[in-house]
């Protein structure tokens, strides 16, 4: 008994969870080889993986530490731009930076390095902005981070920075998810990896976040969320821990931004709007503030619903001769908004509350045992 406590136990529920996740990866790998690459399924998985990472990173800040930050779009923008700027092939630079004489950056980094660099850049900006704003109370912090994202958006569109950022023009022709496919001698795809790799990147990043949350630092962050004054009285330095959560969250938002760039194949500062941050926040809320599992599930559901399942709401539908009323462009988003308001007002716990996948499995195990006991 005492042994199982002192060494935090890796119980069967954790192992089962890991197996489930592994099976999902295998299933995606197999599906990718046999289902045509144009299937909506893969679009959803790719974008879903990106959003899942960003949502979990936001949850680390807003859900686990209680820092209500609305700067997510800004940090994603930084990650996306850094990735794009350093990975556009030299041959394509003249074409992309056509108004800036090929641009200033004249070297190329491997995609992986550029992605990490994107994350680091975002974390660096988070550090700078964190100095003044992390001392603020929740609602001021929200508006200050929102404002920061707007400043970043303006800065990256500034004509004078054009040689680096391409001004208000888009960055393109950098490596995308499709470049992860292994190609044969004639350029035909031999092994499809364009969905698996983004899922792996997101998976590894989310895994690191989970490790952090379950470490002694994660407990300190939760303590700050629960009661700042008590946490400080227990010797937890608020400023450094908040900054830590904010910077790590931003690092992964930056990596998520790089993934978004790969998914979209182009990057333009003006698309990283406040609305994007709101969307991610709402994903977090629907999944459950304080649940990594919830954020992941909710990301895939959100993307699947908006890109795939609810698309029909945006088009006229005929049942026989009867035209279903209300359906036209934009109706999907109205339905979405209503669902979100219902969750916010009546199901404040979201899908998962603060529970994780292993917690669910433990519950089932307990119920199963309970049934056995009663049947005997």
């Amino acid at each position: 008994m005492s042994n199982s406590l002192t060494k935090k136990k890796i119980d069967s529920a954790t192992i089962i969870s890991a197996v489930i996740v592994l099976c999902l990866y295998v299933a995606v790998f197999i599906a990718e080889q046999f289902i045509p690459a144009t299937s909506m399924l893969f679009t959803v998985l790719k974008k879903g993986a990106t959003y899942a990472l960003v949502a979990v990173s936001m949850n680390l800040c807003n859900g686990f530490t209680g820092i209500f930050s609305l700067g997510q779009a800004g940090f994603m923008l930084i990650g996306a731009y850094v990735y794009g700027i350093f990975t556009i092939p030299l041959a394509a630079r003249m074409d992309v930076y056509q108004y800036y004489n090929g641009g200033l950056v004249q070297f190329v980094l491997p995609w992986f390095i550029a992605m990490i660099l994107g994350g680091l850049a975002a974390a660096f900006f988070a550090f700078l902005i964190g100095l003044p704003v992390l001392r603020l109370k929740s609602d001021y912090l929200a508006i200050a981070t929102l404002g920061f994202a707007e400043i970043i958006r303006a800065l990256f569109q500034w004509d004078k920075l054009g040689p680096v950022t391409n001004g208000s023009n888009m960055l393109r022709l950098f490596p995308t998810f499709n470049d992860f496919n292994v190609r044969g001698a004639e350029g035909q795809v031999t092994v499809y990896l364009s969905t698996l790799v983004p899922l792996l990147i997101a998976g590894v990043c989310i895994g690191v976040i989970i490790l952090l949350i379950n470490s002694t630092f994660g407990r300190a962050l939760k303590a700050i969320r629960d009661d700042e004054i008590a946490a400080e009285a227990m010797g937890i330095r608020l400023a450094s821990h908040k900054r830590l959560a904010f910077c790590i969250s931003s690092f992964f938002a930056g990596v998520g931004g790089a993934m978004l760039a790969m998914y979209q194949t182009t990057v333009q500062a003006k698309s990283f709007t406040t609305a994007m941050t709101y969307e991610i926040l709402l994903i977090v809320v629907i999944g459950g503030i304080g649940s990594v599992t919830g954020s992941c599930i909710s990301s895939f559901l959100f993307v699947a619903a908006s890109e795939w399942w609810l698309r029909f709401l945006d088009q006229k539908q005929m049942i026989g001769n009867f035209e279903v009323p209300l359906l036209r462009n934009g109706f999907r988003l109205v339905v979405f908004s209503i669902i979100i308001m219902i969750v916010v007002l009546f199901f404040r716990q979201g899908i998962m509350g603060t529970k994780e996948l292993p917690d669910l499995i433990r519950n089932w195990q307990r119920k199963g045992k309970g049934k056995e006991a009663t049947s005997k």
């Binding site: 807003n62 400043i151 569109q157 004509d159 609305a275 036209r328 916010v344 007002l345």
Partner: protein, 307 residues
């Protein structure tokens, strides 16, 4: 020099007045509920859309304006009852998320109704007329906005200082629980706050969109945020503070819009550097500086947490 700068200052004062009217809604709601009503800017935008559709359906303009104001106030009332009241005892983050949800809903509803196209705002006679003042040509609305703003603010301050409901509002913003114990009808005070706030946002929308002539679902976001910054700048909860903050922000952002030209004519710049890009960003930079240096704003009061 003056001829170059003056038009920018003029439109700055005008847009500042419009921000002021929006900012009052933020500052009053925050004063009472400690809630950033993220949907306030969108209510302002919806007021513009209602005007567009009402005018298009043939309602005479003189009737449109009061109807729009009443409808806008009604929307404010309904939003509070539906989206904020149920969360009054919930953690503050919940109410803020709900406000963001309302903002998202309003924008999407308008997107659906308008199809995401720019809607042309009806031309209101007289205030849309061009006038020339000190050599600068502008619309009449630019001239009357600051005056109308001041009149409305004075009326509001009198309402708050000299009427029973105003006294109740002050009491509630000072101490929510005690006011409740003292028998103040908290719900009607809060509703009244929302009604006044959205009514003024409705007035602002008439002035603002007459100037900018088009409305789209995102039209409210930026003015809303800037008005909020103005409210923080002036010290949230303080109405005069919000008004002063709004005028400062309005003027500053318009000067930045023309800064390239102004500096060029003054001989400081040799060519355009695109500083206008930062006219929005400036507001937020100002916000961050203010929050870092004096978080309570120009006219705010310091509070101490009880342990």
């Amino acid at each position: 020099m003056w001829n170059t700068v003056f038009p920018y200052i003029l439109s700055g004062i005008s847009v500042g007045g419009q921000y002021a009217l929006i900012a009052i809604g933020y500052t009053m709601v925050y004063g009472i509920l400690r809630l950033i009503n993220f949907a306030h800017g969108d209510v302002f935008m919806v007021a513009g859309i209602i005007m567009v559709y009402m005018a298009a359906s043939g309602v005479p303009l003189w009737l449109c304006i009061p109807l729009v104001l009443v409808l806008t106030a009604l929307i404010g009332f309904v939003i509070e009852r539906v989206a904020y009241k149920p969360l009054r005892t919930a953690p503050r983050m919940s109410a803020m998320i709900s406000a963001i949800g309302v903002s998202y809903t309003l924008q999407n509803l308008v997107l659906y109704i308008t199809g995401g196209l720019n809607q042309i705002y009806p031309t209101i006679p007289w205030i849309s007329d061009s006038v020339t003042i000190f050599g600068a040509t502008t619309k009449m609305v630019t001239i009357i906005t600051p005056f109308l703003t001041i009149i409305l603010v004075v009326a509001l301050v009198m309402l708050i200082n000299h009427t029973k409901i105003g006294m109740a509002m002050r009491a509630v913003s000072r101490d929510f629980e005690t006011s409740q114990l003292m028998g103040i009808k908290i719900n009607s005070v809060i509703s009244m706050t929302f009604v006044i706030g959205t009514f003024l946002a409705g007035v602002a929308s008439v002035l603002y969109f007459t100037n900018y002539t088009t409305v789209i679902q995102t039209s409210g976001a930026m003015p809303g945020l800037k008005a909020f910054v103005a409210a923080v700048f002036g010290g949230i909860g303080s109405i005069p503070g919000a008004v002063v903050g709004a005028f400062i922000i309005g003027i500053a952002e318009n000067i930045i819009k023309g800064l390239d030209i102004i500096l060029f004519k003054a001989g400081i710049l040799s060519g355009p550097v695109g500083l206008a890009t930062f006219s929005d960003a400036f507001t937020f930079a100002l916000l961050i500086i203010i929050l870092a240096v004096k978080p309570t704003g120009l006219f705010g009061e310091k509070t101490t947490d009880k342990v």
